[in-house]
Every structure is written in structure tokens, then in C-alpha cells.
């Protein structure tokens, strides 16, 4: 309970502080502006969560999102079929990466870092200098104003609910989480660890593609380095949201809350008139503080 409760309280406090400083943010329009960039962040965080669930880490998700951004701003507009095919190929590449890590027992950290160079290189090949334009439907979709709640809020709730259902309340979800927690038990029960890891990596690739598409819809242009920040944001979101790096402990709701916290930390800085130069420090710092508090908690419990 504390796992999701603590980040939720922290998020409420941050929202409270922002609303107190800027009451206009409390409207439909204000929330849309404030939360717009949480859309790519929550999907990036979900991608990272799928990988952390098997006890791995993905240091290439940021450059991967850049690559999707570059494809979406070029191929997807000029040759839609080719664009979608390349996204399918990217998901297959992620699944293959998971399979390779499993079969060769490679450290995910080195493989995903190596892959980050591949993603960056491909992004530069697709779009050597920033520019391009996405197909018209993409920005339109991101600009959609659904009734009742702004799009980022609606998407966050739906994504958290869907993730929670699939991973926590379906039998294959339990199997997938078990790969990180107790792989031997899962293998003994007759499940394929290879298929499980490949499936989770494919899921990560798919979430990364949605994140890249959302980012393209917001930026309406491509840039081979635009996604870099999402590596840190996604890892921090999973951990701050209650995930553990060891043992496949993740919570989809917590991860979405964690992504909001990391994003709003940036907004809070600008409301406080602190230079955005410090944004990385604040995001890294939140991660350190949360893990430090957890260590203190373990000591007092022991």
C-alpha cells in the first residue's frame, strides 16, 4: 500500500503547490497545457517498466523515442505504409533484443546501450538535421479535446488501468512478472522464459513507439536527439512509482504517477523561477531521495 500511496501523496502535494502558485492551471485548458508532455513520458515509463519487470534495464529508450520521432516526421507522412512497416520492424527488433539477452545471458545494460547507438544512428540516417513534418492526423489527434477531462489526464488513467489489469490481473501477467521474481519457478511450471522476455521487450518497443508518436504530435517536427531525456525520466518514473530494480516488482499505476512526478518537477521549477538548467539535478535528486528513504525504511523495519 505504501508503495503506491507515498508517490500518490507526493504527486498530490506537487499539484497542490502548483495550483496554489498558479490557480489558472486548475482549469481544463490549464491542465491540458500543464500535462501535455506527460503523454510521451507515461508511455516511455511503461516501456521501461516492461523491461524492469524482468530485472533488466533499458538505457536506449530515449534514443529509440528519437528514432520513432524522426520516422514519424518523415516516412510516416511521405510513405505511410513504409512508416508503419518500419515501426513493426522496430518492435520485432526489441523482441529480438530481449531474446538475445535471454539466450546469451547478456547484461541488458550493455546491450541496450549498444542498441542506443544503433537507434541514434538510424535516426540520423532518416533525418540528418532537425525538421520534417508528421502526417496531419497526428498533431490533430494530440490536439483533440475530449469532453470532461483533458487528453493527457484521460490517457494516464486509461493506461494505468489497462496496465494494472494486464500485468496484475491476468494469468499471463503473473507469469511475466514471475520471470523477474522467480524465473526457476516459472520455468518449472512449463512457461517459456524466452517467449516471456521477448514479449515484454516487444511490449516495451510498442510503448516506445506510442511515446515517440505522441512526442511528434506535440512537437510537429523531428529531431534525432529530442528523446534523450526520456531514458532518465522513464527509469526514475518506474522506481519513484514504487518499482524495485531487483526482482520484478513493478506497479503500472505507480509508474504513471511516477512519470507525472518527474514531469511536474520540471514545471514546478519554472513556477519557482529556478533555471531549467537544474532540471536534470532535480530529476536525478528525486530518484536518489526516494531510494534513500526506502533504505531508511528498511533499516527501521529491520
Amino acid at each position: 500500500m505504501l508503495r503506491v500511496g507515498l508517490p500518490a501523496v507526493a504527486l498530490a502535494a506537487m499539484l497542490g503547490a502548483i495550483f496554489a502558485m498558479q490557480p489558472r492551471a486548475m482549469s481544463y485548458f490549464g491542465l491540458t497545457v500543464l500535462l501535455n508532455f506527460t503523454l510521451p513520458a507515461i508511455f516511455a515509463a511503461m516501456a521501461q517498466m516492461a523491461v524492469i519487470a524482468v530485472g533488466d534495464i533499458d538505457l536506449g529508450i530515449g534514443p529509440f523515442i528519437s528514432l520513432v520521432n524522426c520516422i514519424a516526421a518523415t516516412l510516416l507522412a511521405t510513405h505511410p505504409l513504409l512508416g508503419w512497416l518500419s515501426f513493426a520492424a522496430l518492435i520485432a527488433a526489441y523482441a529480438a533484443m530481449g531474446a538475445l539477452i535471454h539466450l546469451r545471458r547478456l547484461p541488458s545494460i550493455v546491450v541496450t546501450l549498444g542498441a542506443s547507438f544503433v537507434w541514434l544512428g538510424l535516426a540520423l540516417l532518416v533525418l540528418p538535421s532537425p525538421g520534417g513534418a508528421p502526417p496531419a492526423w497526428l498533431p490533430a489527434l494530440l490536439a483533440w479535446r475530449p469532453p470532461l477531462a483533458p487528453l493527457p489526464l484521460l490517457a494516464s488513467v486509461l493506461l494505468a488501468a489497462l496496465g494494472e489489469f494486464l500485468l496484475m490481473h491476468t494469468s499471463y501477467g503473473v507469469v511475466l512478472r514471475g520471470i523477474g521474481g522467480n524465473p526457476r519457478a516459472i520455468a518449472r511450471a512449463g512457461w517459456s522464459l524466452l517467449a516471456g522476455r521477448a514479449a515484454l521487450y516487444a511490449l516495451a518497443g510498442a510503448c516506445g513507439i506510442v511515446a515517440g508518436l505522441a512526442l511528434t504530435g506535440l512537437n510537429t517536427a523531428g529531431d534525432a536527439t529530442v528523446g534523450t531525456q526520456y531514458t532518465l525520466i522513464s527509469i526514475a518514473a518506474v522506481i519513484v512509482g514504487g518499482g524495485e530494480f531487483v526482482g520484478g516488482i513493478v506497479t503500472p499505476i505507480g509508474t504513471v504517477v511516477g512519470a507525472w512526478i518527474m514531469l511536474l518537477a520540471g514545471s514546478l521549477l519554472s513556477f519557482l523561477n529556478i533555471s531549467t538548467d537544474w532540471q536534470l539535478s532535480v530529476q536525478g535528486g528525486i530518484l536518489i531521495v526516494v531510494l534513500g528513504l526506502r533504505a531508511l525504511n528498511r533499516w527501521s523495519a529491520a
Binding site: I57, L59, L100, R104, R105, L106, P107, I109, V110, V111, L113, G114, A115, S116, F117, V118, W119, L120, G121, L122, A123, L124, L125, P128, L232, I235, A236, I239, F245, V246, S275, D277, W278, Q279, L280, S281, Q283, G284, G285, L287, I288, L291, G292, A295, R298
Partner: protein, 317 residues
């Protein structure tokens, strides 16, 4: 006979990286039809030095066993580079102060990492990743207030050649040899490898596990700072993205050089084979006039490919 060759090769995991570097270099010579081929090697060695310096620290961390890694290297390099260049401010008068401050940044960063890992018990991977971003943002904030130019004396030192060989390469090849000696012959070196093989056994044997691991991270911070200072001097000033490639490269030279990613076994000589390999590959692609995109793709694929093959060999043994 075959078995003896096999044993001889297994004891020398660094051979592969040198052989690959030599092959790629010869291939480059073919592509370039022999023009400027020795000069190419000297330039490759110059840049290989920066990879090898951070590689030494990363190798010590990775050798200390599963979970140990230093992901703060790019942040430390950039911050130390800026602090050192800021104090030098383009004049030799600030040389000593700049060097001292840059080195102090490296030591402090390493100590900070130790605090996170041992004090707060944060996994090294996450702790050093987070601290690396903190150092990077300190560099960003500091870069607004400073004119980060190196002292002329340091610039000429960083680019100096002795009989055509970069002087800093010579210095750090000697340092690498000392590290290799230390790993084999000193209590500290043997402790690092023992901890990497089995941390429980190392503890039960009465080794100073905490102190050894702390030294490893402080050393890695120090070496990253030195690399940052020298790289800033060589490139005529610090830059915010100067560390970006070094996260992967510091790990790549360790892994390609034959150090076991599982820990407990280090291959210092291999750092130079791997660093030279990665540089001559870039040189070859430049000679072939392909863009930056292809360079990144090829580098990434080489690292994943070699890792997959090398691990296969480990398992077969």
C-alpha cells in the same frame, strides 16, 4: 597441440581486440590506398587514450562483480572539464588551480557515489546514473557563468607527440601497465578480483570489502575527471555534450577488451586494443565517406555482436 593454443589464447583475452584493430587498420589502408596510414594510427591512438583512461576506472568497477558499474562517467567528465577550464580561463597562470579543482571534482564525485552505494545502499547502476545527471546539470549551470578555455600549456601537452606517438597515450599506457601489475600483485588489486569472483568468500576471508569497493569508485571518478580535463584541453575547450559517447564507450572498451562482464577477471591490455579498434573503425568509415548515422549504427552493432560472441565462448569453456 590445438588444446595448448586454446589454453594460451584463453589466458590472453585481449588478443582478439588487437587482432581486430589490426585487421580494420589494414582494411583502412587498402581503402585509402596506403595514404597517410601511419598518421591515421597516431590520431586513432590519441582518441583511444581518452576511451582507455575512463575504461580503466570502468574496468575496475565491472571487475568488482555483478552490479558494480559507473554510469556517472560522462557527467563527471563534463563537470570536471568545465571547472578546470573555467579556472584556467585560457591562461597558464590558472593551470595549477584548474588542474587541482578538476581533480577535486573527480574525487568528490567518486566519494558521492560511494555515499549513495554504501551509505544509502542504492544499486550502483541507479545511483551512478542519477548522480551522473546531477553532475551534468551542475556543468550546465556552471557553463553559463564561465568562459571554458584551456591553458595553452595544457593544450600543447595534450597534443604533444614523441617520435610520432601521442605523449598522453604513452603516459597512460604506462599507467595501464601499473594497473595490470597492481591487479596481480597488490592486496588492493587481488581484493578487487576476489570480490568480483565471490563477494561472500571475500568477506569471510577478511578482505576489506567496503574499503576496496569505495576506492574503486573514487578511482573511477578521478580517472573520469582526468579524461574530461585532457579532452577539453585537446578540443580547445569544454563542451556540454563532450561526455555523451563515453557512457557506452567506457563500457565497450572494457567488454571488447576481454574483461569478464560477470566480474572477477580483468584485462587491462585489452582496453587499448578495444579503444584502438573502435577508433580505426570510425576512421575507416570516414575514409569511406559515410555519414555520422552509419558510424553510430556500426559501432553499436559491433559492441552487441562481440558481446554475444564473447559470452558464447565463456559458456563453452
Amino acid at each position: 597441440m590445438n588444446g595448448r593454443i586454446r589454453t594460451w589464447l584463453d589466458a590472453r583475452p585481449w588478443i582478439w581486440s588487437f587482432a581486430a584493430a589490426l585487421l580494420v587498420w589494414l582494411a583502412t589502408a587498402l581503402v585509402a590506398e596506403g595514404r597517410g596510414i601511419l598518421a591515421t594510427l597516431a590520431v586513432a591512438l590519441q582518441f583511444a587514450t581518452f576511451y582507455a583512461i575512463v575504461g580503466i576506472g570502468q574496468m575496475l568497477a565491472i571487475s568488482a562483480g555483478p552490479g558494480n558499474i559507473d554510469l556517472s562517467i560522462p557527467g563527471v567528465m563534463t563537470f570536471a572539464g568545465y571547472v578546470a577550464m573555467g579556472l584556467m580561463n585560457g591562461s597558464d597562470a590558472g593551470l595549477a588551480a584548474g588542474l587541482a579543482a578538476g581533480v577535486a571534482v573527480g574525487l568528490a564525485a567518486g566519494a558521492f557515489n560511494v555515499g549513495l552505494i554504501q551509505g544509502l545502499r542504492i544499486p550502483p547502476m541507479i545511483g551512478t546514473l542519477a548522480s551522473g545527471f546531477v553532475f551534468q546539470s551542475m556543468a550546465i549551470a556552471y557553463s553559463r557563468t564561465t568562459h571554458a578555455a584551456p591553458a595553452p600549456a595544457l593544450v600543447s601537452f595534450s597534443a604533444a607527440r614523441l617520435l610520432g606517438v601521442p605523449v598522453i597515450a604513452l603516459i597512460f599506457i604506462i599507467l595501464t601497465a601499473l594497473v595490470a601489475l597492481a591487479l596481480n600483485r597488490t592486496v588492493f588489486g587481488r581484493s578487487v578480483l576476489a570480490i568480483g569472483q565471490n563477494i561472500r568468500a571475500a568477506r569471510l576471508a577478511g578482505l576489506a570489502v567496503r574499503r576496496t569497493l569505495a576506492s574503486v569508485y573514487v578511482l573511477s571518478g578521478l580517472l573520469a575527471a582526468i579524461a574530461g580535463i585532457l579532452l577539453s584541453a585537446y578540443s580547445g575547450g569544454a563542451a556540454l555534450d563532450m561526455g555523451a559517447d563515453y557512457l557506452l564507450m567506457s563500457i565497450a572498451v572494457v567488454v571488447l577488451g576481454g574483461t569478464s562482464i560477470a566480474g572477477g577477471q580483468a584485462s587491462p591490455a585489452g582496453l587499448w586494443g578495444a579503444a584502438t579498434l573502435l577508433d580505426v573503425v570510425v576512421t575507416m568509415l570516414n575514409v569511406m565517406r559515410v555519414g555520422a548515422g552509419v558510424r553510430y549504427v556500426v559501432t553499436g552493432l559491433i559492441i552487441i555482436g562481440v558481446l554475444a560472441l564473447a559470452k558464447g565462448r565463456d559458456q563453452a569453456a
